[in-house]
């Protein structure tokens, strides 16, 4: 059987790979990809805690579903913003998107 520790270690590793992507990539779409990895790591944690805690209490799965909904909303708005910026400035490099910088 797989102990809880394996799931927690895997999700910590996945979260930090996503964190690296968010911090280091220049392409704004790649930054959103990193955020998706982080959200998936959180979801693994939520489901693993549900399964290894009391499986009759369904809260962990409900939280995971809410995370799905928030991830879908975040991606829709984020990609719309990136496409809009690309139309106006012809760039998707996060460093060059400095219209709000004063």
């Amino acid at each position: 059987m797989v102990p809880l520790s394996w799931y927690l270690t895997l999700s910590a590793a996945l979260f930090n790979i996503g964190l690296f992507g968010v911090l280091a990539r220049r392409n704004a779409v790649a930054i959103l990809l990193g955020i998706e990895l982080m959200l998936n790591a959180v979801n693994i944690n939520l489901v693993a805690f549900w399964r290894y805690g009391d499986p009759t209490v369904i809260t962990g799965q409900v939280f995971a579903i809410i995370v799905f909904a928030v991830a879908a909303a975040e991606v829709a708005v984020g990609l719309a913003l990136i496409i809009s910026v690309y139309r106006n400035r012809s760039t998707v490099i996060a460093n060059d998107i400095d219209m709000l910088k004063w």
Binding site: M1, V2, P3, L4, S5, W6, L8, T9, L10, A12, L14, N16, I17, G18, F20, L23, A24, R25, R26, N27, V29, A30, L33, E36, L37, N43, I44, V47, A48, W50, R51, Y52, P55, T56, I58, Q61, V62, A64, I65, I66, F68, A69, V70, A71, A72, A73, E74, V75, A76, V77, L79, A80, L81, I82, I83, Y86, V92, I93, A94, N95
Partner: protein, 169 residues
């Protein structure tokens, strides 16, 4: 090393390898495809955790909708960024450092926690987790308000995405 552990390890290798490719590959289309591989591995993990419904939702929503949205966005924006110049910014070594430190911190925190090596308990006979999930989502005593708020959030995101990306006259 039993059967479940072997499947878990294969799945973890798939997830971590594909995730590393997502954050390092140059071609953004390939990054989106590697993201699909990662999401598929996570769906397998949900099956291992007896959360079949979430595995289906993961495949339908994440792979079917979100990953396809990423591929469309990459195709709409790729002309400029296409394989020229560095893909990582100047502070990438700091990002590596922060990630490793954060992983180390989390791991330390885990090892000091008493429930770390906990084993899976059997789901009591006669409990249908999918039925409970469905009734919890619409029960006033449980999660009907977060459920409704999530639907309003999705509607707001839909309108916001259309508004932001609409090309005005």
């Amino acid at each position: 090393m039993d059967f479940m552990q072997i499947i878990f390890l294969l799945c973890a290798a798939l997830i971590l390898g594909a995730a590393l490719m997502v954050v390092t590959t140059r071609n953004m289309i390939h990054a989106a495809l590697w993201l699909i591989a990662t999401l598929f591995g996570v769906a397998i993990l949900y099956v291992l955790l007896n959360a079949g419904f979430l595995a289906v939702v993961q495949v339908v929503i994440y792979i079917g909708a979100i990953a396809i949205l990423f591929i469309f966005a990459v195709m709409l924006t790729r002309r400029e960024m296409r394989d020229q110049g560095p893909q990582l910014n100047n502070g990438w070594w700091m990002a590596v450092l922060i990630s490793l430190l954060s992983f180390g911190g989390l791991f330390l925190l885990f090892t000091n926690w008493s429930g770390f090596g906990k084993m899976m308990v059997n789901i009591p006979a006669g409990t249908d987790t999918l039925r409970e999930l469905g009734s919890a989502l619409v029960s006033p005593n449980a999660f009907v308000i977060p459920f409704e708020v999530a639907s309003v959030l999705l509607l707001a995101a839909l309108i916001g995405a259309v508004y932001v990306s609409f090309r005005g006259k």
